[in-house]
Symmetry: C2
Subunit: 272 residues, 2 copies
């Protein structure tokens, strides 16, 4: 039996999705149909949402689950009346926080994912530009500005990790590919040799790397078991010999890789 | 008086940060020092975290606030004893969900930002590669695969929005810059003309665009008031004439721009 889950928000819905997703992953074997309903910022839109939820309840014979991050009392009161399990994020936590801080919360339109701060918006954009310019060895090579430089063989996860760190944390992350030639010499490439303290290595299981490379180029040496194994073994040897910290990205999400790198290097987030 | 806030997680801390941040933005005028404590997956680490929290409480003369997404009861029990306001996301919502679903939750290590699904990891990576290859007019130009093609003048927010949509939602987003030459003709550039249904325009206030461009190139025509105004007026005229939906990105965060585009175009997330 499928359950429909609504993420209802007066803004982007990112917070409601994050909350709901965390909770739903704790229930195995139940199928969920996920629907995000963002920008519910008027009573009319709130009423339309209630109708939508009620129709789903009737159609499916079971009431939906609603994760709400609506802040305005007026809108919550409307959506709460839907035929659903209504889980209200602000209801649960604003009360205890108000008591603790001895302050009234502003109860203003969700601002979690808005531009509260132009400076931090600019930092994310600049960090993203930096990651783009310093991707895959890049052309710019102003590594002095880098907070961290990821190294690893082709398709080990460098690019998405750098971009995620830039967008999420405003961190300046460059990446440099370890090519076959460089791996054969077992020394650090000249371009990054003087930035040893910023280097962080990525590795991955041979099976997984083969699978990823095959999606890109099914034939030839690039995705062959021998080649993949040689490159990974050489990269790991290099990390160990040069005392470069490294992480195995197999079975890790982009979020996990990024969080682990920040945690281990102590690189500070530039944006919260 | 500053308050220290801890985001404590057995995994990346992304969920705790997102939820805590949403709540804290509702309290104006209170300063918070934010500390993420990820990967707390053993009783020893939980105890060390308690010590850390208690020391902050003593040092600052006011107890910290702890947002916890710890799932394992054993670890929560430990951290709950800290001298802090302990706000527990799972405690608040798992109970009602278990009742509603008539299921026990698995209470397993937080999996919200883990790789629950290799296919969805691959989709995010592929979408990111697509965004990189189709950035700024790109070389690849396989626009048939694009879910959406963002157009706009230089620095209107195309690149970070595309990358965010790829990483967060697995959406295939390309972007195409409207250059001066193309703006002067007031027609759609040939490269994107046959993909009209996928086009989505970005615009921005002249003041903001000037500010952003000045950071990049302080002198010359690129950031001049006349140039910026001409380009934006021409782009908006083009959008209206060609019936291309568009959004003003001034004072919007990347999350807001992305969510609004998905909401208005109906483009489906490929990843949840």
């Amino acid at each position: 039996m499928q359950r429909t889950v609504y993420f209802v928000s007066d803004q982007t819905g990112v917070t409601a999705e994050t909350l709901g997703h965390s909770l739903l992953t704790q229930f195995d074997g139940q199928e969920f149909r996920l629907v995000t309903v963002p920008f519910i910022d008027s009573v009319d839109k709130a009423r339309a949402t209630v109708e939508r939820i009620n129709m789903a309840a009737e159609r499916e014979g079971v009431r939906p689950i609603v994760f709400s991050t609506l802040v305005q009392d007026e809108l919550r009161t409307v959506v709460r009346q839907a035929n659903a399990l209504f889980l209200d994020f602000f209801d649960a936590f604003l009360g205890p926080l108000e008591l603790e801080l001895q302050m009234q919360s502003t109860h203003t339109l969700g601002r979690a994912h808005g531009v509260t701060d132009t400076a931090s918006y600019m930092r994310r954009i600049e960090a993203t530009n930096f990651a783009m310019a310093h991707d895959d060895g890049g052309t710019a090579r102003s590594y002095e500005m880098a907070d961290v430089i990821l190294i690893g063989v082709s398709r080990s996860g460098k690019t998405p990790t750098c971009l995620y760190m830039a967008l999420q944390y405003g961190v300046y992350a460059a990446n440099y590919p370890l090519t076959e030639d460089e791996l054969e010499t077992a020394t650090l490439p000249p371009a990054i040799r003087s930035y040893r303290d910023k280097l962080y290595g990525l590795t991955i299981s041979p099976e997984r790397l083969q699978q990823i490379r095959r999606e890109r180029r099914p034939h030839g040496r690039y995705a062959s078991p021998q080649q993949v194994r040689f490159e990974l073994r050489a990269a790991e040897t290099l990390y160990r010999r040069q005392s470069i910290p490294f992480i195995n990205t197999t079975d890790k999400s982009i979020e996990e890789i990024a969080a682990a790198i920040l945690n281990e290097t102590g690189v500070e987030r530039r944006v919260r």
